[in-house]
Amino acid sequence: MDLELWVSATYIAGLKSKKIRLMQELPVDTLRALLNQIADGNDKAVRQIYVHYQPALYGFIRHLVSDESAVEEILQDTFMVLFRKPESWHAQSKFFTWLCGIAKNKVVDWRRSQSKHNDVVEDADQVLETIPATGWDMLATLEAKEMSAFIAKCINCLPQLSREAIYRANFLDERVEDIAILQKCPVNTVKTRLFHARIKLKECIEKILGSGGKHACA
């Protein structure tokens, strides 16, 4: 077997077996019991819900907002919406999806307050087959740490839906079908969205490299 292929296969097998960082939803009955306790003023239940969902929710908000202090504020505001009215979750959607919905609204509010509400317009309508294959060799010269730093700078160039798709595919390891349901779009749109995100990130990184480190969205 080709070495690179073997590495990929090992990587995926490891991912499947370890389930590291994969966020597991709490059972609905447990959630209901905890939310009832929160309504009764139980600190322990607050702690349990927070510790369970905070890392994934933080990751979600962090994908949408780059400002670290704003992420912290939005995270706390999101949890406080839950703790103020724990009865507002009716189990019609998954609890974490519901939390993400609150967080997204908070992000929108924050953007408005920052006068940065003009989200990047996405061009996911463009069909994948019409896009020519691109050269990626330039990026191969970057170290992993450098690459991460560039991605962190350039992810702001992406529309919110693309960032959400990146989060769900990479952080939560969700299937494309599940992301499509959440984003209320066809499966191909999600695939196209992620492809465009890669292209935009690549272009942004190339611009930074070409301009001597100056940040520029494509």
Binding site: L5, G41, D43, R47, Y50, E72, F83, A169, F171
Partner: protein, 221 residues
């Protein structure tokens, strides 16, 4: 720039899901086959992997309880000791009631529950207690008679009972040594003279008269 290639597009579209291990076996086999036949695809795969690593490491070494204390402080301030009165107000407002109405309704409910409770008579109660609970009417000589009648010697008890019942009166005393009976009209507004006349007409009664201010004889007389 390479020309559009549908296999490459499919490969690009599937790549994030190949890396997160959620592809079907068929798609996974396709990606692996494409990957092994096109070494140039490795750079794109590596870039996708770099995005994935960025995503996975976005929260760094942040502990799961980071920021918890701040949230707990806000939560405690939110839920700070609600008084019983405020709880009652909250409960009432949920049901669309004013507190005064709710209290009145609660009192009415308690009273109704008390009045409708099952009567439990303790074992060993006397007969008098039971009669009081059961509401048995016990005729006594304390009732003042309205009429005195002398039944005919041939009259039977059943005939007399029927006759008195038809004329809306009941026996309150007697028979005495001569067989006389004292009757009380069940309706206080009844025409006593009329009843006396009606009784006299019956073959079971020899004589009937309205009693006026006459003391009843004692039982042992």
């Amino acid at each position: 720039m390479p020309a559009p290639n549908s296999d490459h597009s499919r490969y690009s579209a599937l790549m994030p899901f190949y890396l997160n291990g959620t592809l079907s076996e068929e798609d996974q086999a396709f990606v692996e086959a494409y990957f092994s036949q096109n070494p140039s695809a490795r750079d794109e795969l590596n870039f996708s992997r770099a995005i994935r690593e960025y995503s996975k490491n976005i929260s760094g070494e942040r502990p799961a309880d980071a920021g918890l204390e701040t949230v707990l402080l806000k939560y405690r301030a939110l839920k700070k000791a609600p008084s019983r009165l405020s709880k009652l107000r909250e409960w009432c407002s949920e049901w669309g009631l004013s507190p005064a109405f709710a209290v009145a309704a609660a009192i009415a409910a308690i009273q109704a529950a008390f009045l409708m409770r099952p009567v439990v008579v303790p074992v060993g109660s006397s007969a008098e207690d039971l009669s009081a609970y059961r509401g048995i009417h016990v005729p006594t000589t304390a009732l003042t008679a309205d009429l005195k009648v002398s039944p005919s010697p041939n009259a039977t008890y059943a005939d007399l009972a029927t006759l008195f019942s038809l004329n809306h009166c009941q026996v309150v005393h007697g028979p005495d040594a001569e067989g006389a009976l004292w009757l009380k009209a069940t309706d206080p507004r009844a025409d006593l003279e009329g009843i006396a006349i009606a009784l006299k007409k019956s073959s079971e009664i020899d004589s009937a008269a309205v009693v006026k201010e006459e003391k009843l004889p004692k039982n042992n007389e």
